[in-house]
């Protein structure tokens, strides 16, 4: 995803000299081509994310389209108030890019786990929140953020889903993509963990349970219609996110249902309960450890289809 993003941005930036990429001293080896080819559109501001975001806003107020780049929480939580007051309040085209959503940097420890970012960024007025599931969606999301006039957040995963792209597929900000259709249960996933959802759906199909799989690549604006359809047309909803169950995808779905006055027949939130992952391991290990891998999804769906409804997670 990271490489796709950089490649796509470079391609766009060649044709549009308003586009700038600013890094907070991270991206070793990954940003070299961009820097070499477009040195006037590249800036390494050093290990100073608050200043990076403020500078980005100053550039954007001068007509630039800016992407700030770093790992995990450094482009978001470290400079949250700069995003809120400077980027969002001024409505400028500054896009925070976090490489390493969720447990991407699992072995590096809790400081590098980005597991509350979606909730926090989603709350900022005017902030578009994009969390693509595969590399195709990553390239689309990058193009979309250049075109969107306001601030954005792009969460990139180390382990994307295998390409879900089909010919004539369209990508639209705020519109979920149906990866497969089914009536038993809707699996809604955001980010690279979409791959676990599609794998789970294949296994469940072998068991005679046909799942709808939606890639919720945009958390804000949120696709209300997709939730409505999932409630009406399928037997329930399972949300899957490499993120806290508080404030992210699960919350967005639940809020949407209550606002619409509808309730899924079954509902389960797969995500990190209200804890830090204090043990380390690969992204795959931590997904399994916290019940987010395909086996856990399969088991959750079996539980729901078997009659249990609305299990309470992490409260």
């Amino acid at each position: 995803m990271r490489d796709t993003f950089v490649r796509q941005l470079l391609e766009l930036a060649r044709a549009d000299d308003r586009i700038m990429l600013i890094t907070g001293d991270l991206g070793y080896g990954v940003l070299d081509e961009f820097q070499r080819e477009l040195p006037r559109q590249f800036l390494n501001v050093g290990v100073a994310e608050q200043n990076m975001t403020g500078v980005a806003v100053g550039l954007a107020l001068s007509g630039k389209v800016v992407f700030t780049y770093s790992i995990g929480n450094f482009t978001t939580l470290r400079c949250l108030e700069q995003l809120r007051n400077d980027a969002c309040y001024h409505g400028v085209n500054v896009n925070a890019v976090a490489v390493g959503g969720g447990f991407s940097y699992g072995p590096l420890g809790f400081s590098h786990h980005a597991t509350e970012d979606l909730a926090i960024l989603r709350a900022l007025p005017g902030m578009a929140v994009l969390s693509p599931g595969d590399c195709w969606e990553t390239a689309c999301a990058t193009r979309a953020l250049v075109a969107l006039p306001g601030p954005g957040y792009l969460r990139l995963d180390k382990t994307p889903a295998e390409s879900t792209h089909r010919p004539l597929d369209a990508f639209e900000v705020g519109r979920a993509r149906m990866i497969r259709d089914g009536a038993a249960i809707t699996l809604m996933a955001t980010g690279g963990i979409l791959g676990e959802a599609t794998t789970a759906a294949e296994r469940l199909a072998d068991d005679g349970i046909d799942c709808r799989v939606l890639s919720m690549h945009t958390l804000k604006p949120f696709d209300v219609a997709a939730v409505d359809a999932a409630v009406r047309e399928t037997g329930g909803i399972v949300t899957i996110e490499e993120h806290s169950v508080i404030g992210g995808l699960a919350s967005a779905v639940a809020e949407t249902c209550l606002s619409l006055g509808i309730a899924p027949r079954a509902f389960e939130r797969l995500g990190l309960p209200d804890v830090f992952a204090s043990e380390v391991g690969s992204q795959a290990y931590l997904r399994a450890r916290y019940g987010l891998d395909s086996a856990s999804i399969v088991s959750a769906v079996h539980g729901l289809v078997g009659g249990r409804t609305r299990k309470v997670v992490g409260l």
């Binding site: 050093g46 500078v55 806003v57 107020l61 001068s62």
Partner: protein, 278 residues
């Protein structure tokens, strides 16, 4: 002073403008029952010289691309900027009466929304300089000749983000960027020296690669002389340490921590207005 007045204004005119800013600020904080009048009085002369003589801005075309950019980083003193903008003709002076009132666009901390002439909304300290540095960097990148000016407070220099921006500006040789520090030596709860000492303050800026000048922040001729010759050195950002008196112009507000928060009401308001009569 209105938009068709000759520019730059003579010194007497900026002194008049400063007095008007002070009177407006007293009225605004009185009606709005709001804080920070001492902070506005502290920087009123700096703001008057900037808007009267230095900033190339046009109230008829507030978004003209060639305009100089001004950022008030100590956003709590926003009343002073609103007053200066109204006096320069960016919006009607009468609107100042709505400051901090229900439904008003003139918030206690300076906002750009619906207020022509305000470049950046601030209020949380330590934001303005980074954004201003980004503006200055963009101007260099695009070969534009406009300048960027920032007024920030001394207490604000406690914020780490300020020093991130200071490093950035000198590294990139942003000589189109000028900071004026309103150095009144009093912060929110106590004296700067007793809270988090900044001295040796000029040495700090100098060691970070800025060209430093000092001035009496209430001496209009001296302020104008310094600010008319920025950059102080080619290839370096400029900082003007303006030694000021918090609450300047109202005897009982001068050098008093109290008037960072206290709103001028009743007899105190009447006396203050009398002291600031023409």
């Amino acid at each position: 002073m209105v938009s068709h007045d000759p520019w730059p204004s003579p010194i007497e005119a900026t002194e008049t403008l400063a007095r008007r800013i002070r009177r407006h600020a007293l009225n605004m904080t009185n009606r709005g029952k709001s804080s920070h009048v001492g902070s506005v009085l502290s920087m009123a002369d700096i703001i008057a010289v900037l808007y009267g003589r230095i900033l190339r801005v046009d109230p008829e075309r507030p978004e003209r691309p060639e305009r100089d950019r001004f950022v008030l980083s100590k956003g709590h003193a926003g009343a002073g900027v609103y007053a200066a903008l109204a006096e320069r003709g960016f919006f009607p002076v009468g609107e100042l009466a709505s400051h901090c009132q229900n439904g008003s666009r003139l918030s206690g901390h300076v906002t750009h929304k619906g207020v022509p002439g305000v470049e950046l909304s601030t209020g949380s300290l330590g934001h303005g300089l980074s954004v201003a540095a980004g503006m200055a960097f963009a101007a260099k990148l695009d070969g534009r000749g406009h300048r960027v000016f920032v007024v920030q407070s001394d207490g604000e220099c406690d914020e780490g983000s300020v020093w991130e921006a200071i490093l950035f500006a000198s590294h990139h040789r942003l000589d189109n960027l000028t900071v004026v520090v309103d150095y009144n030596k009093i912060q929110s709860l106590a004296a700067v020296a007793d809270t988090l000492a900044l001295e040796p303050f000029t040495d700090k800026w100098r060691s970070f690669g800025w060209e430093v000048a000092e001035v009496d922040g209430h001496d209009h001729a001296a302020l104008a002389e310094r600010l008319e010759r920025v950059p102080f050195a080619v290839g370096k950002p400029s900082v003007l340490i303006a030694h000021t008196t918090k609450g300047k112009g109202v005897s009982f507000m001068e050098n008093a921590v109290l008037w960072h928060y206290r709103s001028p009401q009743g007899e105190e308001f009447e006396i203050a207005m009398k002291e600031l009569e023409d």
